[in-house]
C-alpha cells in the first residue's frame, strides 16, 4: 500500500495511527509488523527493548482488525503499537525490572496499566529497558546494558525510563509506559525530545508495578504529542480495586479540556528553578516558551518554592528507605535468580542478593537501611518526611495563586554515556528540578521546546495541581502549538 510507505514511523502520532487503522487505510497487523521491522533494523544500536512480544502483538492486532471489519466500536488505542517499561508485569512475558535478580521471571499476571491499554486496543510490542529497579537518571544502571539516546548515540537517553523515551523518539513504538519516582518520566522525555507525563499520585493504578518507593512511584505515558499522552492517560486513569492507593477522583475528558486553549490561565514561574547551574540555552528556551504563553493570553506570575534546594536530599532519604524495605522481597525463594553458592538459608539469601543486585541498587539499599536503623531514624527519615511536608506546602501555597507552573525539567541537556557514572552524588543532582513534584505528589509533564545549538532536545516542565491533569495538559498543548507554529 502506498499509504503505508508514506508513513514515517518516527513522526506518526497516536491519533494518526489509530485513525488509519479504524478507517481501514492500514491494518493493525501491518502497522505492528512495520514497527517490529524497524526495531530489528535500528534497535541493535539503541537497545531500548529487552524483550519483544511478537506473538502477543500480532494476536492482538488481528483481534483489532477483525473488530474493525465487523464494524464494532474500536477502542481509543485501536491498533496503536506500544512498549512497556520492564518494571510493569506482563503475564507470561519475562519481566526483569532491568535487574539480574529477576532474570527469567515470567509474571503470572498483567499490571493494571498494561491490561487497560490492551483492553483499549493497544498492541504491546515488547518490554523496554530501564535502570535497575528504576534507580538511575541515565539508564546506565540496567543489568542488561545501557540505552543510547536516538538523537545523539554517544549520549544517555535519561533514566530511569530511558528505553521508554528512546523507543518513542526512534519510531519503534507510537507510545510507551514508563514510571516516575523522582523524575524518571520527565527527565528522559526531555533528553529524547518526546512528551512524558507524570500523573498525580493515585491517578493511575500501580498494581503490577515492581515497587521501588511506594509513596512516590507512579505510572505514566510517553508519546509524540500532548494530545496522545492525554489519550493514554485517559485510558489508564481511575480507581482499581487491586491498588488501595488508587484514587476515586473523577477523570476529566482530557481531549475536550485541551481544546479549551490557554487564554486567561495564570502561569507561575518559580524563581528557584532558574538559578545557578541552569544551562544558558535551556534558560533561553524556557523564557521563549513563557513569552509565547503571554502572547497566547496567559498571565505570568512569580511564585516561590523556597524549599526546592532541600528536595534532592529529602528524596534520597525517603526513596532509599522505602527501597530498602521493598527490595527485601528479593531473596531467591519465590521467583527469579538464585545463587548456586548457598549451603544454608541465610547464605543463600546473601549470595543471591550480592550476585543479583547491581552497585547502585546495593548503594541505595545500604543507604536506606542506614537511615532507618536504630538511632538514626529521627535524624534522617523523620526529618526528611518533615521536609517533604514543607515541599508539599510550598506547592499548595504557590497554586493558591496560579493554575499551573512552568519551569525547566533538567539543568543540562543529555550528557555523555559514562560522564557521571563514577560519582553517584553528581548523578543524583540531575533530579534537582523533578524531585519536588515527586515528593509533593502533584502532576507534571515534559514537553519538547526546541534544541540546543548542538542539536540536543530541550524539554519544558509543566506542573499542575493535585488531580488537575486537565489544566496541565491545556498548558502543555498550548506550548506545543507554539513550537509547531
Amino acid at each position: 500500500m502506498a499509504l503505508e510507505r508514506k508513513m514515517s514511523l518516527e513522526r506518526l502520532t497516536l491519533a494518526e495511527a489509530r485513525s488509519a487503522v479504524v478507517e481501514g487505510r492500514v491494518s493493525a497487523v501491518a502497522l505492528a509488523e512495520q514497527h517490529l521491522e524497524r526495531i530489528a533494523a535500528v534497535d541493535g544500536e539503541i537497545h531500548s527493548f529487552l524483550a519483544l512480544t511478537r506473538e502477543r502483538a500480532l494476536a492482538q492486532a488481528e483481534k483489532v482488525d477483525a473488530a474493525v471489519k465487523a464494524g464494532q466500536a474500536p477502542g481509543p488505542l485501536a491498533g496503536v503499537p506500544v512498549g512497556i517499561k520492564d518494571v510493569l508485569t506482563t503475564r507470561g512475558v519475562e519481566t526483569t525490572a532491568g535487574s539480574r535478580i529477576l532474570s527469567g521471571y515470567h509474571p503470572p499476571y498483567d499490571a493494571t496499566a498494561v491490561a487497560r491499554l490492551e483492553a483499549a486496543g493497544a498492541v504491546v510490542l515488547g518490554k523496554l529497558n530501564c535502570d535497575e529497579f528504576a534507580m538511575g537518571s541515565s539508564n546506565e544502571n540496567s543489568a542488561y546494558g545501557p540505552v543510547k539516546n536516538p538523537r545523539a548515540l554517544d549520549r544517555v537517553p535519561g533514566g530511569s525510563s530511558g528505553g521508554s523515551a528512546a523507543a518513542v523518539a526512534a519510531g519503534l513504538c507510537v507510545a510507551s509506559l514508563g514510571t516516575d519516582t523522582g523524575g524518571s518520566i520527565r527527565q528522559p522525555a526531555a533528553f529524547c525530545g518526546v512528551v512524558g507525563l507524570l500523573p498525580t499520585y493515585g491517578r493511575v493504578s500501580r498494581y503490577g508495578l515492581i515497587a521501588f518507593a511506594s509513596s512516590l512511584d507512579r505510572v505514566g505515558p510517553f508519546a509524540r504529542s500532548v494530545e496522545d499522552a492525554a489519550t493514554v492517560l485517559g485510558v489508564m486513569a481511575g480507581p482499581d480495586e487491586m491498588d488501595a492507593t488508587s484514587s476515586r477522583q473523577p477523570v476529566a475528558d482530557y481531549a475536550a479540556e485541551i481544546r479549551k486553549g490557554v487564554e486567561g490561565l495564570k502561569i507561575g514561574v518559580p524563581e528557584e528553578y532558574f538559578g545557578e547551574g541552569l544551562d544558558d540555552e535551556i534558560r533561553k528556551a524556557i523564557e521563549s516558551v513563557l513569552d509565547g504563553l503571554r502572547t497566547s493570553g496567559c498571565s505570568l506570575h512569580k511564585v516561590s518554592l523556597p524549599h526546592t534546594r532541600y528536595a534532592v536530599p529529602a528524596y534520597y532519604v525517603v526513596a532509599t528507605a522505602e527501597a530498602s524495605s521493598n527490595l527485601s522481597r528479593f531473596d531467591g525463594v519465590r521467583y527469579g535468580f538464585r545463587t548456586r553458592d548457598g549451603a544454608t538459608l541465610t547464605g543463600m539469601f546473601r549470595n543471591t542478593r550480592d550476585e543479583g543486585f547491581g552497585a547502585e541498587v546495593k548503594r541505595r539499599i545500604l543507604l536506606g537501611t542506614y537511615v532507618l536503623s536504630a538511632g538514626y531514624y529521627d535524624a534522617y527519615y523523620r526529618k526528611a518526611q518533615q521536609v517533604r511536608s514543607l515541599l508539599a506546602r510550598d506547592f499548595v501555597q504557590a497554586f493558591a495563586g496560579v493554575d499551573a507552573i512552568v519551569a525547566p525539567v533538567t539543568p543540562t541537556p543529555a550528557f555523555k554515556l559514562g560522564e557521571k557514572t563514577s560519582d553517584p552524588l553528581q548523578m543524583y543532582l540531575e533530579d534537582i528540578y523533578t524531585v519536588s513534584a515527586s515528593l509533593a505528589g502533584i502532576c507534571g509533564m515534559s514537553v519538547p521546546c526546541g534544541e540546543t545549538s548542538g542539536g540536543l532536545p530541550i524539554g519544558v516542565q509543566v506542573l499542575g495541581k493535585y488531580f488537575d491533569e486537565a489544566t496541565m495538559l491545556r498548558v502543555g498543548a498550548g506550548l506545543e502549538r507554539q513550537q509547531r507554529a
Binding site: 515470567h106 509474571p107 503470572p108 493515585g202 509513596s215 480495586e241 491498588d243 488501595a244 484514587s247 476515586r248 477522583q249 524549599h307 534546594r309 532541600y310 534532592v312 536530599p313 529529602a314 532519604v317 530498602s324 527485601s328 525463594v333 519465590r334 521467583y335 527469579g336 535468580f337 538464585r338 544454608t344 538459608l345 541465610t346 543463600m348 546473601r350 549470595n351 542478593r353 550480592d354 543486585f357 546495593k362 548503594r363 539499599i365 545500604l366 543507604l367 542506614y370 536503623s373 534522617y380 526529618k383 526528611a384 518526611q385 518533615q386 521536609v387 517533604r388 511536608s389 514543607l390 508539599a392 506546602r393 499548595v396 553517584p424 552524588l425 543524583y428 509533593a440 505528589g441 493535585y466
Partner: protein
C-alpha cells in the same frame, strides 16, 4: 557523622547483603558523600512540622475520596498455584524449597 567500613558491614548484615572486600570501602565512601549532602536538611527547623508519609495527608481528603480504594472483604480466586510455583527456583509444586535453615 562519618560511616566506617565497620558500619557498612553492619548495615549490609541488616540488609542481608554479602559485600566483597572491594565493595566495602567504596560503599563507605559513597555513603559518606551522600550523607554529607543530606546533612543540609538540618539547616531547617522542623520542630513544629508534621512528617508526611503519604500524599493524601496534604490533600486532607476523606480516605474514600483520597484513594483508599478498599474492596469488599470477600473471598475470591487468587493466582493459579501452578503458574506461581513454576517461577520458583526450587519447588516440589506445592512448597518453595530452600537450603537448610540451621547451620551445623
Amino acid at each position: 557523622m562519618s560511616v566506617s567500613v565497620e558500619d557498612v558491614r553492619h548495615v549490609a548484615d541488616l540488609a542481608n547483603l554479602e559485600l566483597t572486600a572491594e565493595e566495602l570501602p567504596r560503599m563507605a565512601k559513597d555513603l559518606n558523600a551522600v550523607l554529607g549532602y543530606i546533612a543540609q536538611l538540618n539547616e531547617l527547623d522542623t520542630s513544629t512540622v508534621e512528617p508526611m508519609a503519604q500524599v493524601g495527608e496534604v490533600l486532607g481528603l476523606e480516605p474514600a475520596q483520597n484513594g483508599e480504594t478498599l474492596r469488599a472483604d470477600a473471598v475470591r480466586a487468587s493466582l493459579e498455584r501452578d503458574a506461581v510455583m513454576a517461577e520458583a527456583p526450587e519447588t516440589d509444586g506445592r512448597f518453595f524449597k530452600v537450603p537448610r535453615v540451621l547451620e551445623r
